[in-house]
């Protein structure tokens, strides 16, 4: 019996014949079936294809509106407008240039830009030529429709923002999707003519706001004119309304309190993480993006050296300056690094090797304990504390524990993380060894440490909550556009939970209260409605007569209900004329929030003497 696999094969002819037969039969069946589909029943399928392709067009979904927490009048809404389209298969190819140039003159645009949008293929799909077309322009086209074969129009609302200024950074704006975005988002229901959020809430929550476009069939007469009836094959699903945590009144108050100074303000509810106000100056007017001169306006903004597109609350980081001393105090108490009641004598300077560090009060503060040092913001005390008792490791550890050096996770695009330095970081990034001077700088919030305004607001929130930071957020709830029903509610989420004793926070709060009640700013804080506790900061950025001005605070100092407390952080950049504005603005903001007054009323009530001539009253660097 041979077992050689390479001996002559002997396949059974019947079996081979059977297989060939099967193949042939299947081919005959498939050919027959294809014949019946493409030849016999061709008309049936052809009508089906035309029914879908020719007479349907996309029915855009209305974009959801954006409200502030009061949910009364929208901050962002839609206004009626039209889009003009062409169906290439129905137009007159020979006279196309004349048709388009006539159309361009009505629409007030270049004929060439319109021509570029028309494909060579005779497709039945309507191609959008221009949006943001007014009713008047549409009437002009409609009355001469004989001259415009294949041209049609449809309603395409444009976005309108009822409040711009400081809200522009939060809400953002929308625009036509660009090829890169389409490439990334193709699978999420976007098409080439989609409108997409480009910045802020409009971008962050685009999927909620945009809705789902539908399909509509249009009955057209033989000449392709006169839209008689529109019927939805698939009704568009409108986007959902978004309600922000922002309080329009507080936002306006903060905007005016900041005035025309480069800087930022954050008002936060520490009990939930809700952001009540978020102001960054300079800002821009989003409505101008929907006007004919939008391109030049956009360019002006981009070229502006003050970077109006930057949301200074989350997208730029600065040295925290003396605000950082709150972290130092926490670390000292928690680690028992130095007895809180033991005094250190400030002589106005501290010598380290061949360098002399000067306290901001050159004459010296005299002997101070920990609480006094925070109140007076004595640099010498904290240098001693940081340099000789805590060390960079512990300072870094507590900075991170209290939320620095990491994004807050706020629901806006483009947030930066800031920076908490460490000896390893310095060696790796700057390739230099960490020296004692670095620890000194770090101890008073100078040097490499970088924080955003929102991170400082979170730091104060942790102190108020005694160890917990709730993720700061702007989304309060999502509501159905028709019924107004709440479909989704943002519940507080914990961002950080630090293992720090409540005794530490009590001591810290007491000291922060002393800063406002007994410290150098006590005369500024003249509002009677609320007891505030806080910490100032004056950052060196290289000018001799100007500094960044921080004031990070909360109030009321003692509250029965934690829901009543707010955190207010004001940061004024050094590029402004020095007027020690952060605590002053904060004073006005607290008065406005708790006395329920507008900024104008606040000015009257407080009789703020420092408002216009403040610069000559306090012109010394004082904390």
């Amino acid at each position: 019996m041979s077992n050689n696999p390479f001996e002559n094969q002997s396949i059974k002819k019947e079996r081979l014949f059977f297989l060939v037969l099967v193949v042939c039969v299947v081919f005959v069946i498939f050919t027959g079936y294809l014949f019946s589909m493409q030849i016999t029943r061709w008309m049936e399928y052809q009508n089906q294809a035309w029914a879908v392709a020719r007479r349907t067009s996309e029915a855009p979904a209305l974009r959801g509106e954006i409200y502030d927490r009061n949910y009364d009048t929208p901050l962002a809404s839609n206004v009626d407008s039209f889009a003009v389209s062409i169906v290439p298969a129905e137009t007159d190819r020979q006279n196309l240039p004349q048709i388009i140039s006539a159309l361009a003159s009505i629409l007030g645009t270049e004929a060439q830009t319109l021509m570029n949008k028309i494909p060579q293929a005779d497709v039945f799909q309507a191609i959008e030529l221009k949006d943001n077309v007014s009713y008047g322009q549409v009437v002009q086209i409609a009355s001469n429709i004989e001259d415009f074969p294949g041209i049609s129009w449809s309603s395409k609302p444009v976005r309108h923002y009822n409040h711009t200024a400081s809200l522009s950074h939060i809400i953002g704006y929308v625009g036509n999707i660009n090829p890169e975005e389409l490439h990334l988002l193709y699978n999420k229901g976007y098409a080439a003519n989609s409108i997409i959020g480009k910045n802020g809430i409009e971008k962050e929550y685009d999927l909620i706001l945009k809705g789902t476009p539908g399909l509509k069939s249009i009955t057209v007469d033989a000449k392709g004119r006169n839209v008689q009836e529109e019927r939805y094959i698939k009704a568009p699903v409108p986007g959902k309304n978004i309600v922000l945590t922002i309080d329009r009144r507080i936002q306006e108050l903060c905007e005016k309190a900041l005035g025309e100074r480069m800087g930022s303000v954050v008002v936060l509810k520490p009990a939930t993480g809700e952001i009540l106000a978020m102001v960054s100056y300079p800002s821009y007017d989003t409505n101008r993006f929907y006007t004919p001169d939008s391109a030049s306006y956009y360019r002006t903004l981009l070229e502006n050296g003050n970077h109006p597109f930057l949301n200074r609350c989350i997208q730029s980081a600065n040295a925290p300056a003396s605000v950082f001393k709150t972290i130092m105090m926490t670390a000292s108490l928690e680690e028992n690094a130095f007895p809180p009641d033991k005094k250190i004598d400030c002589t106005g300077k501290l010598v380290l090797g061949d360098r002399t560090f000067n306290c901001h009060q050159k004459s010296g503060h005299g002997p101070l304990n920990l609480s006094d040092a925070l109140m007076e913001s004595c640099d010498v005390y904290f240098w001693e504390l940081g340099g000789n008792h805590l060390g960079p490791k512990k300072i870094e550890q507590y900075s991170r524990m209290m939320g620095l050096g990491e994004k807050t996770g706020v629901d806006l695009p483009g947030e930066v993380a800031g920076l908490v330095p460490s000896p390893e970081w310095k060696l790796e990034r700057i390739n230099e060894l960490w020296v004692g001077g670095d620890t000194y700088n770090m101890s008073i919030g100078q040097g490499y440490t970088q924080v955003t305004t929102l991170q400082i607001a979170d730091l104060i929130a942790m102190i108020v909550n005694e160890g917990t930071i709730y993720t700061p957020h702007l989304l309060k709830e999502v509501r159905d556009v028709v019924t107004g029903e709440v479909v989704e509610e943002r519940t507080p989420r914990i961002l950080h939970k630090a293992d720090i004793s409540s005794h530490t926070f009590h001591e810290l709060k007491k000291a922060m209260r002393r800063v406002v009640a007994e410290g150098s700013i006590r005369r500024l804080f003249n509002n009677k409605v609320v007891e505030v506790a806080g910490k100032t900061g004056t950052g060196e950025v290289g000018y001799t007569d100007r500094w960044t001005s921080w004031f990070a605070s909360f109030g009321p100092y003692q509250a029965q209900n934690p829901e009543d407390q707010v955190v207010v952080v004001v940061m004024i950049e050094a590029s402004n004329e020095w007027e020690w504005w952060a605590p002053k603005a904060s004073n006005a903001i607290y008065q406005g929030i708790f006395a329920n007054q507008s900024y104008e009323e606040v000015v009257k009530t407080l009789d703020i003497w420092y408002l216009n001539n403040g610069t000559d009253v306090i012109r010394r660097r004082s904390e």
Partner: protein, 439 residues
């Protein structure tokens, strides 16, 4: 060496058919990348060109070595394939829900495609070696293990469609190797039984939309178990009968009831294992109008695309169904729909003809092969080509359920293209080394 081995002994007809399909493939993958504005949004067609060129290189490489080396290395090749499948299961990437990719998506490979060839070679080698006792049940069962292993590994990815290809490969090779018809019939009958028992309750539930007794039976776990138990009892009794009386009637009763029991059991398992989307695919195959906006959408759009193509089609790049993106998965699973829409019945016949030529040439090569090993490989390859053709085009025309397996030579995708090219290379190799025609 053979003196007849000249330039002309190459099978140029098959190469011509493949080149023709390749050109069509690139054209329509390009067409599928166009959007409604006529702008190309995809570079798939360029990648496909690269794969075709490299695929032709691989084909040449496969032709160069005498296929008798495949025999020597059959189990090594098979072993490497299985190893790759296991690696894929462990560290592969998920694409469309199946862990079937090795490497990065887009530049990675799908080992399950290449394993088909490895399995064909191993199975052919096994059958050629055991050709003298091929009718033995033991040989049959051992042969069955060869495709069963990759099938299980591919099912685990999970990729039902690709794993099914191994069934016709096994059936055809064993059939031509001369195994007993009743073994093969047993498998075929079980398959039909499973399909029937899975589909009947769905059909009655979704399409007729009424609670018939069939649904009651199939949805009641206990009742099903009772029926299964009864069938097994019949099996045991008839088996005893056959051993006791040696009457043919008992053998056939036992044979039938084993089929019924296995079908019932697998159908019960299938109802548990099949995912919702797979069940919906089966349901919409029975009646696409059950869910025209959802699961039935693909079928309805594909039917409309094909049907509206007519005799000569709407013209290259002028399909309406495809360019408005009514049709999903255009460049791979539904490539035939675009072809049929844009170049019509006429163009589709060109595609049919190319495949028919490849298959018929395959039969001729199998018949003219000098040895069994070569001809078994040919039959395995024929089975693979044919199955892909029937299932993919059948799916596009709505006469097969959607399984998502590519149309060889035409669909976009490197692994399946390389596999088909190498398979064709093997056919040419065997033809090239035939030592003369035997008619």
């Amino acid at each position: 060496m053979n003196s007849r081995k000249s330039f002309l002994t190459f099978d140029f007809i098959i190469i011509l058919a493949i080149l023709c399909l390749s050109v069509i493939s690139v054209c329509f993958i390009y067409s599928s990348g166009l959007n409604s504005d006529g702008v190309n949004t995809s570079f798939e067609f360029i990648k496909q060109i690269i794969w075709i060129v490299t695929g032709l290189g691989l084909m040449t490489l496969v032709i160069v070595f005498d296929y008798k080396y495949f025999y020597d290395f059959a189990y090594y090749i098979y072993g490497i394939c299985i190893f790759m499948l296991i690696i894929t299961l462990l560290v592969g990437n998920k694409v469309n829900g199946a862990r079937s990719w090795l490497g990065l998506p887009g530049v990675g490979i799908q080992p399950s495609e290449f394993t088909k060839l490895g399995t064909i070679i191993a199975l052919s080698a096994f059958c050629a070696k055991n050709r003298n006792n091929i009718r033995s049940i033991v040989v049959f069962l051992r042969a069955a293990l060869i495709p069963a292993l990759p099938m299980v590994l591919i099912l685990a990815q999970p990729d039902l469609g690709t794993s099914l290809v191994y069934i016709p490969i096994f059936l055809v090779i064993l059939f031509m190797a001369g195994t007993k018809i009743r073994y093969l019939f047993f498998l075929v009958a079980c398959g039909i039984g499973v399909i029937l028992f899975t589909i009947i309750p769905m059909w009655s539930g979704y399409v007729l939309k009424q609670e018939t007794f069939v649904v009651t039976i199939f949805s009641n776990q206990l009742l099903m178990l009772a029926i299964l138990g009864a069938c097994l009892l019949v099996v045991i009794l008839s088996a005893i009968g056959w051993f006791a009386f040696k009457k043919g009637i008992y053998y056939w009763i036992c044979y039938s009831f084993v089929i019924i029991s296995v079908s019932l059991f697998v159908a019960m398992l299938a109802q548990k294992i099949l995912k919702d989307y797979q069940i919906m695919r089966l349901v919409v195959f029975l009646d696409p109008d059950v869910d025209p906006q959802g699961a039935g959408w693909n079928i309805l759009q594909s039917l409309t695309a094909i049907g509206s193509g007519g005799l000569f089609g709407k013209g290259f790049l002028k399909g309406t169904q495809s360019h408005y993106h009514y049709l999903p998965q255009q460049s791979n699973d539904f490539i035939f729909s675009i072809i049929a829409e844009e170049i019509g019945f006429f163009g589709s016949m060109v595609v049919f003809l190319c495949f028919f030529i490849i298959l018929i040439r395959g039969f001729i090569i199998a018949y003219s092969s000098k040895d069994s090993f070569g001809s078994y490989i040919c039959f395995g390859i024929i089975a693979m080509f044919f199955f892909h053709f029937v299932v993919n085009i059948g799916m596009a025309m709505g006469i097969m359920p959607i399984t998502g397996i590519p149309l060889l030579f035409l669909s976009y995708g490197g692994s399946s293209l390389w596999t088909s090219m190498m398979a064709a290379g093997i056919l040419i190799n065997i033809y090239y080394r035939r030592y003369g025609f035997k008619i």
